[in-house]
C-alpha cells in the first residue's frame, strides 16, 4: 500500500494549498487507496445491468457498470462512456463515445455494445422487469416493437460507427442524458453472460460469482478509464434482516449498515458523527379516489389534507427521521416547487371547507399495506381527522402488500383513501408527477384526470431544456396543489451507521453509498 507516502504527500499538498483531489494514489477523490470495505445489503434480485431493479442491486451495479452518462451531485448529467452528446430537437440524440473504455474481459466498449444491451433488455424472452425505461420513461423509437415481439432490434438505436451512437425517441424528451445514467442502459459484452458474474465496464469487477444470500465481492478494476476506486476490494455482505445488519456494525463485522426505523433515535445518540442521515428521492402519500363520492369533491380532499398535522407525526412517530411533505416532489428534485398551502396544517380552514362541502356521510375505509411500518402514522392521521373534522366512522383496512396491490388495481379503482409511496427513477420533479397523475398513466391509482395538468407535462417535455421546462413543471404542481388528488405526507430520508474502520463515506442522491471513494483507515 502507498498509505504513508500518500499521507505525507497529502500533507505537503495541503500545506501548499493545492487541490486535495490529487491526493489519492490513483487520482481518486481525495482519500487513501487500499484496504477492503465490508458493506451490508439485502439480497438483490439482480445485479446484471439489464434487470437491476432494487436499491441493493443498484449499489452493486453502479460499481460494475458505467453507462453513457453519470449524474453529478448537482443532479446534472455528466460524461461517462459518452464524452459528449448533442441534439437539435430533444428527439434525435447523438452520443460521442470514448474510444478507451473496456469491459472487464478486456474487449472494447463500442456503440454496438449499447445496442446489444438495448436489444437484450427489450427482448421479452429475457423477462427484464425494467424494460419500461426504454419504452415508457424515455420513449426510444422501436423499443416497444421489440417488447411486443414484432421486432428483434430497437430501431431507434443506431451505431453510426464505433464511437457514435444515435438514439431516436418517439417524441422530445429533454431528460434523456439523465435517464441514460440508469444501469439498465449500460453496455453489454458480447456472448452469454452469467447473471451471477456479470461482465461490466465500471470501476470494480466481480471477484468470482455472487454467493447468493452470503456475499458479493468486487475488486478494483485497474484498467478503468476514469478515476479509479480507492478500496482494493468491496465485500457486500448479504442480510435478510436490517436488525442483524445493524448489530454487525457494533460487532465489527460490517463497515456500513442501514439503521432499522425503530433504532434511529438510539443510533443517532450512540454513533455521533458515524451516524449519517440523508434525504432521498422518495415520498409517501395518502391517495384519494377522485372518482368516488365524497372524494370526488376537491374541497373534501383539501380539508382532509389540511387537517393533518404532518410535523407532529414526523416528530412523534418518526423521531424526526422524515420530512413533512410540502408539495408533490421532494425539494432535492430539480423542478420541485413545494410550498403547497393545502399541505399545511390548518384546522380552522379544514373544518370550514369540510362543513361547506357537506362533510362525509356514512363510513369509509382507509387502505394501507401492513408490516411496512405504516399502521402508526395512518392511525395518527385518523385521530387528527376525528379531532378536527369529527370523522369517527372509518375503518382501517391493512393487508399484506401483494393482496393490497390487487385492491389498488381493481376495476373502477379503490374506494377510499390509500397509502402509497414513490421512489424516483431519475432525478427530476417530473418523475414524481407524470407517473402518478397523468390521466393515461397506469400508476395513477387516484384516477386523477385534469387535461390542464396533462398539457403542462406535455409543455415540459417539449421544452428546449430541462430548466426551460421548469415553468411548466411549476404550473403542473400548482394544479395538483389546487386539486389535491393525493395528500402528500412525508419525503424520504435514509439512515446509515459506519464503523471506525472507514471514513469519507458519501452518498449519491439516490441514497447509494459512493463506495469507490471510501477511505479504509489503516
Amino acid at each position: 500500500m502507498t498509505t504513508k507516502s500518500t499521507l505525507r504527500l497529502c500533507a505537503a499538498a495541503l500545506a501548499l494549498a493545492l487541490v486535495a483531489a490529487a491526493c489519492g494514489s490513483d487520482g481518486g477523490s481525495g482519500g487513501d487507496a487500499g484496504g477492503e470495505v465490508t458493506y451490508g445489503i439485502v439480497e438483490p434480485t439482480w445485479i446484471d445491468s439489464f434487470n437491476v431493479q432494487d436499491s441493493e442491486g443498484f449499489e452493486v451495479a453502479r460499481l460494475l457498470y458505467d453507462g453513457l452518462t453519470d449524474l453529478n451531485s448537482d443532479l446534472e448529467a455528466v460524461p461517462a462512456v459518452a464524452e459528449s452528446w448533442e441534439t437539435d430537437d430533444n428527439t434525435v440524440w447523438t452520443f460521442t463515445l470514448r474510444d478507451d473504455v473496456k469491459f472487464h474481459d478486456g474487449t472494447a466498449v463500442t456503440a454496438q455494445s449499447f445496442i446489444t444491451a438495448f436489444n437484450y433488455v427489450a427482448n421479452p424472452e429475457n423477462l427484464s422487469d425494467v424494460t419500461y425505461y426504454g419504452s415508457y420513461i424515455t420513449g426510444i423509437s422501436g423499443w416497444g416493437d421489440v417488447e411486443s415481439g414484432d421486432a428483434t432490434e430497437v430501431a431507434g438505436a443506431v451505431a453510426i460507427d464505433d464511437t457514435t451512437l444515435e438514439i431516436t425517441l418517439d417524441g422530445p424528451y429533454p431528460l434523456l442524458p439523465k435517464a441514460m445514467a440508469h444501469p439498465v442502459f449500460s453496455p453489454r459484452a458480447a456472448g452469454d453472460i452469467d447473471p451471477d458474474a456479470p461482465i461490466g465496464n465500471g470501476p470494480y469487477m466481480m471477484d468470482g460469482s455472487w454467493q447468493h444470500d452470503v456475499q458479493i465481492r468486487v475488486l478494483r478494476n485497474d484498467d478503468y478509464y476514469g478515476d479509479k476506486g480507492l478500496p482494493d476490494a468491496i465485500t457486500f455482505r448479504i442480510f435478510d434482516s436490517i436488525e442483524t445488519m445493524f448489530l454487525e456494525v457494533a460487532a465489527g463485522g460490517l463497515d456500513v449498515a442501514d439503521v432499522p426505523p425503530e433504532q434511529i433515535g438510539s443510533a443517532r445518540a450512540e454513533y455521533g458523527d458515524k451516524f449519517i442521515e440523508l434525504d432521498i428521492g422518495s415520498y409517501n402519500y395518502l391517495g384519494f379516489p377522485t372518482t368516488v363520492a365524497p372524494f370526488d369533491n376537491p374541497d373534501i380532499r383539501r380539508a382532509l389534507s389540511m387537517a393533518i398535522d404532518r410535523e407532529t407525526i414526523v416528530d412523534q412517530i418518526f423521531e424526526g427521521s422524515r420530512a413533512a411533505a410540502n408539495g408533490f416532489a421532494p425539494p432535492l428534485a430539480p423542478g420541485a416547487t413545494g410550498g403547497c398551502e393545502n399541505t399545511e396544517h390548518n384546522p380552522e380552514m379544514a373544518k370550514e371547507l369540510f362543513d361547506a362541502a357537506g362533510g362525509i356521510d356514512g363510513s369509509f375505509s382507509v387502505y394501507f399495506n401492513s408490516g411496512g411500518g405504516h399502521e402508526d402514522w395512518i392511525e395518527a392521521v385518523a385521530n387528527q381527522w376525528e379531532q378536527t373534522l369529527g370523522i369517527t366512522d372509518l375503518e382501517f383496512v391493512g393487508q399484506e402488500f401483494a393482496p393490497y396491490l390487487d385492491v389498488l388495481q381493481a376495476d373502477g379503482g379503490i374506494d377510499g383513501p390509500y397509502r402509497l409511496g414513490w421512489l424516483w427513477d431519475l432525478p427530476s420533479a417530473e418523475n414524481f408527477l407524470s407517473p402518478l397523475f397523468l390521466s393515461e398513466s397506469g400508476d395513477n391509482f387516484s384516477l386523477y384526470n385534469n387535461p390542464d395538468f396533462d398539457a403542462a407535462i406535455d409543455e415540459f417535455k417539449g421544452a428546449e431544456s430541462e430548466t426551460d421546462g421548469f415553468g411548466a413543471l411549476e404550473d403542473a404542481q400548482n394544479i395538483l396543489c389546487e386539486d389535491m388528488p393525493v395528500a402528500p405526507m412525508f419525503f424520504g430520508t435514509a439512515q446509515k451507521v459506519v464503523s471506525d474502520n472507514v471514513s469519507n463515506v458519501t452518498y449519491t442522491v439516490f441514497g447509494y453509498t459512493e463506495l469507490e471513494n471510501v477511505t479504509v483507515n489503516q
Binding site: W46, E147, L247
Partner: protein
C-alpha cells in the same frame, strides 16, 4: 420381503401427489397477484405480464398449472424457477439444504452431548441435589422462548464478547456453532428428562439385577448393560428432532441469517414467489417420504411380523 418392498414403494406415489397438490393449491390461492408482487406498486407493462403468464402458465386453471409443474418434476427433475430471479429452484435448494442440515445436525449433536450426561447423572443421583437442580435448570431453559434465547446468545457471545460470528455463514462450520447451541439448550430439557426416566426404568430390569449380582462394577452395569437399552427412546426422540429441524429452523435461520430452506420459504411468501415455496416444500416431501420408506423397510427387515401383515 420383495413383495412388501414393492407394495410399500407404490404407496408413496399417491401420497406424493396428494401432498404436493395440497401445497400447490394453498400457495397459489394465497391472495395477491404473483406477477404484480414482483413489481411492487408499479404497473406491470402489458407485454411483460404476457411473458410471465406464458412462461409460467399463470393464467391457466390451477389443475393445468399443477400438471405442468408436476410433470416437469417427474419427467425432467425440474422443480421450476423463482419468479423473482429466474433462478432454478433446484439450485436454491441445493445451496440452502446443506446449511439447514449442518445447523440441524450440529444442534442435535449438542443436544445429545448435553442431555445424555445430564440425564444419566440425574438418574444415578435420583432425588439428590443434582437431580433436582438439573430439573429446575432445564425447565427454565425450556420455558424461555427460543427467539429470546437466541437473540440473547447473539448479543452476548457475538456482539459484546465477540467470541462467535454474529450472523451469516462466512466462517464455515464455526458460524453454526452458536445458533446450534441455542437450539440445543432450548430443546434439551425434554431429552434430559427422558434419558433420566428411561435409565431409572432400565435399572429396575431383571438383567441389571443379574449383572449386579454377578459382581459387575457399577460403571460396567451402566455403560455395558443399562445405557444401551435406555438410549433407545432417547435416540428415537433425537431422530424426530432432527427431522423436525430439517424442515427449516425458521426462527434460528432468521436471527442468525443462515440462508437455509426455512429462510428461503419465509422470504418467498411476501413476494409470492410460488415456485420457490412449492418447489422446496416438494423436495422436502420427497425427502421425508424416502426416509420413511427406508425406515419402514429396515423395520420389516428386522421384524418379520411387519412384512406379513
Amino acid at each position: 420381503m420383495l413383495g412388501y418392498a414393492i407394495r410399500r414403494t407404490l404407496q408413496i406415489i399417491p401420497v406424493f401427489f396428494i401432498a404436493t397438490f395440497l401445497i400447490f393449491v394453498v400457495v397459489w390461492w394465497l391472495p395477491g397477484d404473483p406477477i404484480q408482487a414482483q413489481f411492487g406498486e408499479r404497473t406491470v407493462p402489458e407485454n411483460t405480464r404476457a411473458q410471465y403468464e406464458e412462461r409460467y402458465h399463470l393464467n391457466e386453471p390451477i389443475h393445468v398449472q399443477y400438471w405442468e409443474y408436476i410433470s416437469g418434476i417427474v419427467f425432467k427433475a425440474d422443480f421450476g424457477e423463482s419468479l423473482r430471479t429466474q433462478r432454478p429452484v433446484r439450485d436454491i435448494f441445493l445451496e440452502s439444504f446443506p446449511r439447514t442440515l449442518r445447523l440441524a445436525g450440529l444442534a442435535v449433536l449438542f443436544e445429545a452431548l448435553m442431555a445424555i450426561p445430564i440425564g444419566v447423572l440425574a438418574a444415578r443421583n435420583r432425588g439428590k441435589w443434582f437431580d433436582n437442580s438439573s430439573l429446575v435448570v432445564t425447565i427454565v431453559l425450556l420455558s424461555i422462548p427460543p427467539f429470546v434465547m437466541l437473540a440473547v446468545l447473539q448479543l452476548v457471545f457475538g456482539v459484546k464478547l465477540r467470541l462467535f460470528p454474529v450472523s451469516g455463514i462466512r466462517d464455515g462450520l464455526w458460524s453454526y456453532v452458536l445458533p446450534a447451541f441455542g437450539i440445543a439448550i432450548t430443546t434439551m430439557a425434554t431429552t434430559a428428562r427422558l434419558m433420566r426416566g428411561s435409565l431409572i426404568d432400565t435399572y429396575r430390569e431383571d438383567y441389571i439385577r443379574t449383572a449386579r449380582a454377578k459382581g459387575a462394577s457399577e460403571r460396567r452395569v451402566l455403560s455395558i448393560h443399562a445405557l444401551r437399552n435406555a438410549l433407545i427412546p432417547v435416540i428415537t426422540v433425537l431422530g424426530i428432532t432432527l427431522g423436525a429441524l430439517i424442515g427449516g429452523t425458521i426462527v434460528t435461520e432468521g436471527i442468525f441469517q443462515i440462508p437455509g430452506v426455512g429462510f428461503q420459504i419465509v422470504r418467498s411468501i411476501p413476494s409470492r414467489d410460488g415456485f420457490v415455496i412449492v418447489g422446496i416444500s416438494t423436495i422436502l416431501v420427497i425427502v421425508y417420504l424416502l426416509i420413511n420408506l427406508i425406515v419402514d423397510l429396515l423395520y420389516a427387515l428386522l421384524d418379520p411380523r411387519i412384512r406379513y401383515d
